[in-house]
Amino acid sequence: MTAEQGIFGVAGAICAVAAVNAVFRKDTLAAAVSLVVTLLSLAVIYLGLGYEFLAAVQVGIYAGAIVVLFTVAIMILSQTRAVEILARAPRLGVVGPVVAALLFLILSAAIVRGRLPVAVAPGGATTVEAIADALFVRFLFPFEVTSVLLLAALVAAVVLTRKRSTEREWPRR
């Protein structure tokens, strides 16, 4: 058993269990913490595959920034009565797991029965240098478009969450 297999076995098992927990826990904060565990175990899997920089980005941006956003939103909402509106038990008790199981069966049948192209011998540069070369030369235009997207999201988040001066004239519920 190689190191990669061991890493995938342990991290993959943790990842699967934490993902089930993240989806089916009623408590949103517990779900967010389970999501952190899932994301960190995925980072470990990326490390095992040899993509150190991607693992670092996964920890920094996903497990760091995105989940922190989640927890802040949970803290804000838990001070309001909206938590009762938002935090409801799963509906469609049986249908959801059945649909998920069917989707997984179809996907796994396609993966197992379908023939993947022959693997290329691992090699080639996976260093930060090679990633920068791809990102800033071949994918420069999508990279710049992404910065515009992030700016738009930033502005949208500020506009959506600030207090409106005209709030009183808005229709009340």
């Binding site: 699967a16 995925l42 993509y51 980005v57 996964q58 938002l86 997984f104 993966i111 969450t161 519920r173």
Partner: protein, 99 residues
């Protein structure tokens, strides 16, 4: 390690996320499930990148992470805004009592 194992884990996470989006009525849990689906796709991209010894899959994973950050920022802002509107009545009552 065969690529199939990575792809199967990705398929499992994706199906789980889809189930969460369909069954949860809690907006925050739905966003958590969407994150799970995005990560499943990322894992598939990275495993394929490894199999073909190409960096393109990893680059796509970076873009997916950036898009996920934008999606979470806007999604959570919408959730907070919805919550604020639903509670505004109670807040006004409280201020009336304070006089």
């Amino acid at each position: 390690m065969p690529t199939t194992a990575y792809l199967l884990l990705g398929a499992f996470l994706f199906a789980l996320g889809a189930a969460g989006v369909v069954t949860r009525s809690n907006a925050l849990s739905m966003l958590v499930s969407v994150e799970l689906m995005l990560n499943a796709v990322n894992l598939t991209f990275v495993a394929s990148a490894r199999r073909f010894a190409e960096l393109d899959g990893v680059i796509v994973a970076f873009f997916v992470i950036a898009v996920a950050a934008a999606e979470v920022a806007v999604g959570l802002a919408i959730v907070v805004d919805i919550a604020r509107r639903h509670v505004s009545v109670d807040v006004d009552k409280a201020s009336d009592l304070a006089g």
